[in-house]
Amino acid sequence: MNKISAARQSSLKIALVSVFAVGATAFSGSASAASASATATATVVAPIAIAKAADLNFGSFYPGAASGTVDVNTNNIRSVTGGVVAASGGAAVTAAKFDVTGAASATYTITYASGVTLLGPGAPMALTQISDLTGAGSATALAATGALGAGGTQTIHLGGSLAVAANQAAGVYSGNISATVAYN
């Protein structure tokens, strides 16, 4: 009798252990989590700015019996066409200069005031603008884009061709040009 009851005892213990084992396994698989780290990045760019460093000045000239033009290239060199004759003296001939500052190596767009005329005692004189970023004097059109240097600066050189009518009335003529820059 004793031996048989011992056998019952041990099988009861096995049953209890087995319930515990199943319960523990089910619990360990019920909820888990996995994580991953990600990088976040942003680049704050210094504001772009532009400032006038020189005015565009065509100097003095004589109108002729025929119309013509007086031209200033980006290297401050003046030439005339048609009936216009260049005069010495008066204000120095200069191309306009705009200094652009901003983030190093940033590229940007340039836009200009259009339809600029110079007003004075006589008929308005129309200005056709040209520009470059070097001042080399070979500009034939307006530079539309620029790229700031490693120091975050660049200069826009702006010249133009001024249309002078035949017998244009004498006097001082002036107008406003502008350049606007924006980052790409």
């Binding site: 056998a7 084992a21 996995a34 990600a38 990045t41 704050v44």
Partner: protein, 164 residues
């Protein structure tokens, strides 16, 4: 004679211990779940912008960028939402991803300067994903201070996915 009759009193617990490893063996394949894994596959990138008077930049989960306040967004540079892939490994039952836990905020630094990211959003949203979903896109809002110092900012954030 039956073998059980040969058991002596006190041998029951020893037998139970001997059988214990055997009990775990059949239980494991029946109840184990594969391991769920989350892998970051794309960074959260706000691209390039000018701070001006400050404001916020919102990146949605699709990676579209918008701004508030004086911030000027620049088209140059790349901007993306973050992406994570969900996978499972090992043997057992298929993983059922349940909820996504997003950070409340994260900080990006550039030298001594900082910016804070908050209002994290995810697609799918942080509700039940369901089995079969294998990627999560995460966006968030960046707060930019007035005249925020120029520089390249970076930081880290953690996304946790729960599964069963």
């Amino acid at each position: 004679m039956m073998p059980v009759i040969k058991l002596r009193r006190g041998s029951g617990p020893i037998l139970a211990l001997l059988l214990l490893p055997l009990l775990f063996l059949p239980a494991a394949p029946l109840h184990a779940v594969k391991t769920g894994n989350v892998t970051n596959t794309r960074a959260l990138s706000y691209g390039r912008f000018v701070a001006n008077t400050g404001g916020t930049i919102i990146l949605n989960t699709a990676g579209a960028r918008s701004q508030t306040g004086g911030v000027v967004l620049l088209a140059s540079g790349t901007f993306t939402s973050a992406a994570f892939s969900l996978t499972e490994s090992g043997t057992g039952k298929a993983v059922g991803f349940t909820t996504i836990t997003l950070p409340v905020s994260a900080t990006m630094t550039s030298g001594a300067n900082t910016m804070t990211i908050s209002n994290f959003v995810s697609d799918p949203t942080n509700t039940v994903l369901g089995t079969g979903k294998n990627s999560v896109q995460v966006g968030a809002t960046l707060t930019v201070a007035p005249n925020q110092a120029p520089g390249n900012y970076s930081g880290n954030f953690v996304v946790t996915v729960n599964y069963q």
